[in-house]
Symmetry: C2
Subunit: 412 residues, 2 copies
């Protein structure tokens, strides 16, 4: 039998080892992250597994089965600075417990190969490039754009990775790990309030929402706050403020859409000057590509209308985007079954946050994720939490899902 | 006869000496400012004047008259970084020309003493404390609050001033200069678009508007932009955006009121997070103290309403305020006469920006200012400009005003 208490004990150990009073500090490529990985290596001792890091720093643990067809369970040990105790690490440590249980149950040789992967740098906290390891694995990563990235101290990504034994020119070789993968499962905390509001411990993730991420700059005219009459101002902040409010009704037209203005910067940004330039960011997400495209169009039109009203101009520059990535229908059904058998209730919901699972699913590998309820919807924060009994249910459900998926793989 | 071409020539010289391609760089206490002052000292050679710096660094040039009663003409040579060629320096160099003319006309001994003052650090550009020298002169300056101010490099105000020979503990001694001052005149560019819109070269300043300057912080809840549904968000930016728009109708109820949100900062301020905390600044001005108080009250009420609507809280912290300071009725009339005789048209308007004249007027010293038209209302900017023929008219009108004021002082 899978033992969910072991997972809780491991999570507590890892928290004690890699957090301070501000939260988890397992930032990828940092000494604390390396410490977390070394601690994890110790936990593998005695298991009938082979393990190694691939060319992008992803850590693969393989329990060879009778068939080479592989079931992969994955997540990440890295955290944001001042992060939570569950984001990522729950998935890895629950995966470890499931792997351990399968090794035991099948006397070291399950019907299919079972692998656990600890993806490198899911968060992108230090260099601003999230899903680093899984995108290298998926071949969707062009290192050229990232080679010059630097952290706050000016250290390049290339240098930091070299110090961890990674040659950035060779990370594409992580794609070698794709061979024989038949299914991918990932357990993660929801990081949002939906399951808690519904009173449900677990949910099936339908897919990850598409994201449109843009930098929007309004150009007005800097002017003296004391000497410039209201009617002659060209206030870039006013145009941005109108947009900050307008994106909300745009998103609310669709039940699962979100739109966020997360950053506003004012220039010159002093108390005595009308804002001449205002830089804002916009992040819009939906599981439906057409809905997302429509939201983006509406926001652009609104920004142009507001710019005109305020006698400003507006520019849009794309930061990043990703299409919606639906998960596999058969695995969604298996996940729903596993949750119902464990908790008696389930919910299907999209994931707003991105996850490594999205990179795997893009390759056409059958993929599904399971969410466990987050308390108060908080994450990326030391206040991030989940009820311990829900964590236990999540481990049991993940184990059931893994068993069902092994059977499903054999039927393919 | 006063020679306005000399003033233009001096302004051009000073610009060539102390500007770069980004504009004027005469930031107080900087080497370039000291260079401007050294250049100015050269211009005093041959004039029958005594000159010295007071304990706060204000530079006083005295043409002793038959009476000790003094007419003071003042302005400032310091500029903001990347500033204009006229802000401050026009007043000092026009004052120098008037002083030179009066020395000539009265053979070195006018009926009253005439003094020119170049105030130290009017702009407060480096340490954020404007009207430094004139407030020390006026005794309205408490050094205790400013002692710890630092510039961007972390150099304290105390250290920077010591390097210029100023002991911050003694700046109050600048008050000694107040003795016998019977009137104060200041010529300045308008720094706004009013006179240009009216097609008038010169205007009489009725007084300086009162200012209420506040830091406003909205507290919401930081949340993940992907996982947090729109309806559960507590978006601090949304509350601030509403206020940024609402201050405009509040100000527009009164013909001369202005209200500006000049700075908005978002925390954590990243593309993937709902804004948990939003810090904004508000600057409100009017010449009528009751109008100003009413505007402030309305803005506070609105901010509380918006905070409630967005399930945020709001805090107000005063940055600074000053009451409206009306100028002297008799001098306003003399200024109106001088302008009418010079330009044939005049306009009375309040000053939105503060000036050293406000500190002088607060002491009860009869004071008036004259504005010359600014082009496009621009200032604090290398694009700051005024037609050369308007500068010439301003010098002639200032000279007329000085003559009229000398007569008026003798009648007191």
């Amino acid at each position: 039998m899978v033992n969910p208490k072991t997972v809780l004990q491991h999570l507590d150990e890892l928290r004690a080892l890699t957090s301070d009073e501000s939260g988890a500090q397992r930032v990828a490529w940092s000494p604390t992250w390396l410490k977390a990985r070394a601690w994890f290596d110790e936990k593998l001792k005695g298991l009938p597994v082979e393990h190694h890091c691939d060319a992008a720093g992803n850590h693969w643990i393989t329990l060879a089965g009778r068939s080479e067809k592989s079931l992969v369970i994955g997540s990440h040990l890295d955290s944001v600075p001042n992060g939570g105790w569950l984001d990522g690490s729950l998935g890895v440590l629950a995966g470890l417990e499931v792997l351990t249980e399968l090794a035991k149950k099948y006397n070291g040789e399950p019907p299919c190969t079972v692998r656990l992967v600890d993806w490198a740098d899911e968060e992108g906290a230090r260099f601003g490039r999230s899903l680093f390891g899984s995108s290298a694995f998926a071949g969707s990563h062009t290192i050229e754009a990232d080679r010059v990235r630097t952290d706050r101290e000016g250290i390049t990504l290339e240098t930091a990775l070299r110090d961890c034994g990674i040659d950035v020119n060779r990370i594409g070789e992580a794609g070698n790990e794709r061979k024989n993968i038949a299914a991918y499962l990932e357990l993660h905390i929801e990081q949002g309030p939906v399951l808690e509001k519904l009173g449900k411990p677990l949910g099936v993730v339908q897919g990850t929402k598409g994201v449109e991420r843009w930098a929007i700059t309004f150009h007005g005219q800097e002017a003296h706050s004391g000497s410039t009459p209201m009617e002659v101002r060209r206030d870039a902040l006013a145009a941005a403020a109108k947009l900050a409010l307008e994106i909300r009704p745009i998103a609310r037209k669709h039940p699962q859409s979100v739109a966020t203005m997360g950053s506003v910067k004012t220039f010159p940004g002093i108390v005595t000057a009308v804002v001449g330039r205002c830089e804002a960011t916009l992040d819009m997400r939906d599981l439906d590509a057409q809905v997302l495209a429509g939201m983006l169009r509406e926001a652009k039109e609104a920004s142009e209308r507001f710019a005109q009203e305020e006698r400003c101009s507006v520019e849009w520059a794309k930061i990043w985007s990703i299409e919606p990535i639906p998960f596999h229908p058969a695995l969604i059904n298996l996940c729903e079954e596993a949750i119902m058998e464990t908790a008696g209730v389930s919910e299907q919901l999209p994931s707003g946050p991105l996850h490594d699972a999205a990179e795997v699913a893009r390759l056409g590998i059958p993929t599904v994720m399971m969410f466990v309820q987050s308390l108060n919807g908080l994450s990326h924060n030391r206040a991030e939490d989940t009820r311990r009994e829900h964590i236990e249910q999540a481990v049991i459900a993940l184990n059931r899902l893994a068993e069902k998926t092994l059977t499903w793989i054999q039927q393919q």
